[in-house]
């Protein structure tokens, strides 16, 4: 459960890296892919189920870093799985399922954010993505990482009340009026805080998002 607005830190920025036996960890994760492949060999249904079990939650968690709404994040991840099945791409995946899924989710999350912040969302803009044919260069990988890091930073640096209202609105799915009632503020104030938060996000997107926009359009 997200408890960002209750005062617990939402981001573990200061998280120290725990010393782990790198070799062991690596083989364990590779084995996961192996398990999925053998599950797919058994039946596509089983394979699909194990994909959901292993990757659904971390993928949602990653998508949230971009779109900052759990519902949207789950929709995006759901769409990626849906397309993976519907186009039959699961049978012809070149590398690992993990790479396919993460790349597709990041790409879609990015597009969603671009459309939300530039205000030209169309109903079909999310469906016309071909998840299997993303040409990722090291630059695009890094630009995506920079994007979610900057978003996190922007939200981190919002004034406390503004941040609280933003997270309540996005994560707890509350209406502006409900937030106003709970915090004892005027509706106008809440709206102003939301507008401010979105304005800050838009600024981030315009500085680096425009580069990606050129790459993928």
């Amino acid at each position: 459960m997200i408890t960002g607005s209750k005062g617990q830190p939402l981001f573990n920025q200061g998280d120290p890296i725990r010393p782990v036996n790198e070799h062991d960890r690596t083989t364990q994760v590779v084995d996961n892919e192996h398990i999925i492949r053998s599950a797919f060999a058994n039946s596509p249904e089983k394979g699909f189920e194990s994909l959901f079990r292993l990757y659904y939650l971390p993928l949602c968690s990653h998508a949230v870093r971009f779109v900052y709404t759990q519902e949207v994040a789950e929709d995006i991840v759901g769409d990626v799985f849906y397309q993976l099945w519907k186009t039959g791409a699961y049978a012809t995946i070149q590398h690992t399922y993990r790479t396919y899924l993460y790349a597709a989710v990041r790409h879609r999350a990015h597009n969603y954010l671009r459309d939300e912040l530039t205000g030209n969302r169309t109903a079909s803009s999310l469906d016309q993505v071909d998840d299997g044919r993303l040409d990722e260069t090291p630059q695009t990988l890094i630009e995506y990482d920079e994007l979610f890091q900057r978003i996190e930073k922007v939200i981190h640096e919002l004034p406390p009340q503004c941040q609280r209202i933003f997270l309540m609105s996005r994560f707890e799915n509350r209406k502006n009026q409900e937030i106003a009632d709970e915090l004892g503020l005027a509706l106008k104030t809440v709206e102003a805080h939301m507008a401010r938060a979105l304005q800050q996000l838009r600024r981030v997107f315009l500085t680096i998002g425009s580069i990606l926009f050129v790459v993928f359009s």
Partner: protein, 343 residues
């Protein structure tokens, strides 16, 4: 470059804590063969150790599956992957036939594989979630948190052409967890059966009642109408319930009947209300575990035996935790799904 970039560096990089030079070396490292795979593997591990949300993958899986089965009505052209490179017209015709045939085959195989998903619908609620639904026969059901209901997707309650055969074709649902039922009485007296995992079946004609069927106990409370309970144990006679009756299936699988003055309190969760009647903190801890997925630790047995009475409104787990702490004048600490009560 490989010796500069390792997992620790990449983790720092994901967290935005590397120098511009390190970032540059990550970029050139990404160009190396196979390193994109490794990048995503480490991104996955990094994400796994810093999860930001909780989500129910089973629910999402079933939703996606039913979305896939629903979309089989679409014209087949739409299912064609749209990035096919099309050469000549003739090639295109051949290929589209091939695609149509293989799609049909895939559809047939899928619908056989997912026949359970196809023919049955399962509605599942997550922790802290309450959902109400209306079945095609007009009956309404409210599901409490962490519960699931499985029923026929198509033609629910409609397979009763000969009137005398209606008893052979009851409307049947399977419940795991907790739910409140308001069953519509049909003109042909077609019965409604609620099946529970512990083998207790509830036969209904048209009435309102609440079922609690979880690991620790199975309880049924009747508000109006009449229902018949039958246990799958041998030698157990079916039990007829009247309004205000509370039936409890004990650990040995025996049914016992008592009266309750307020049958509606067992369904007060529908309005986010919690009704306690000398309810011990231990029982409340069980409820928190079942409804919100919390693991509750109580400092000592004396504290666990303290009781609460009254009816309270709480919209989420935090509200109810605060309420309990205030009422009993005790402290609690919550760390994600772990809660501890101390006096």
């Amino acid at each position: 470059m490989d010796d500069i970039v390792n997992k620790a560096v990449l983790f720092d990089y994901f967290s935005g804590r590397v120098s511009p030079l390190q970032k540059k070396s990550v970029e050139s490292w990404l160009d190396g063969p196979g390193n994109r795979e490794l990048y995503y593997q480490w991104l996955h591990e990094w994400e796994m150790s810093r999860l930001q949300v909780t989500a129910n993958w089973q629910y999402a899986y079933e939703k996606t599956m039913s979305r896939l089965t629903d979309s089989t009505d679409e014209p087949q052209e739409e299912q064609q992957p749209n990035h096919w490179k099309i050469g000549t017209l003739r090639q295109w015709i051949n290929r589209s036939w091939l695609i149509a045939a293989s799609l049909l085959l895939t559809l047939a195989v899928c619908s056989w594989l997912f026949r359970d998903v196809l023919f049955y619908k399962t509605v599942r609620t997550g922790f802290g979630e309450i959902q109400s639904l209306t079945l095609s026969d007009g009956s309404t059901i409210v599901l409490n948190a962490n519960s699931s209901l499985r029923f026929l997707r198509f033609g629910f309650g409609e397979w009763t052409l000969p009137t005398d055969a209606s008893y052979q074709n009851p409307r049947t649902v399977e419940l795991a967890g907790e739910a409140d039922f308001s069953i519509r009485h049909l003109p042909d007296h077609q019965p409604f059966i609620v099946m529970t995992p512990k083998g207790l079946d509830i036969l209904v004609l048209g009435t309102q009642f609440t079922v609690f069927s979880r690991e620790r106990a199975t309880r049924v409370v009747l508000r109006s109408g009449s229902i018949r309970l039958s246990s799958q144990r041998k030698n157990e006679r079916p039990l007829l319930m009247h309004p205000g009756d509370l039936a409890v299936l004990n650990q040995q699988g025996r049914l016992a009947l008592t009266r309750t003055a307020h049958p509606e309190t067992m369904a007060s969760w529908k309005n986010h209300r919690f009704t306690f009647e000398l309810t011990s903190l231990r029982e409340i801890a069980n409820m928190l575990h079942e409804n919100y997925g919390l693991t509750v630790v109580i400092e000592n047995p004396q504290l666990a035996n303290r009781t609460i009475s009254g009816s309270f409104t709480a919209r989420n787990a935090n509200e109810i935790l605060q309420l309990i702490a205030q009422l009993l004048q005790i402290n609690y600490a919550r760390d994600n799904d772990h809660v501890s009560f101390t006096s």
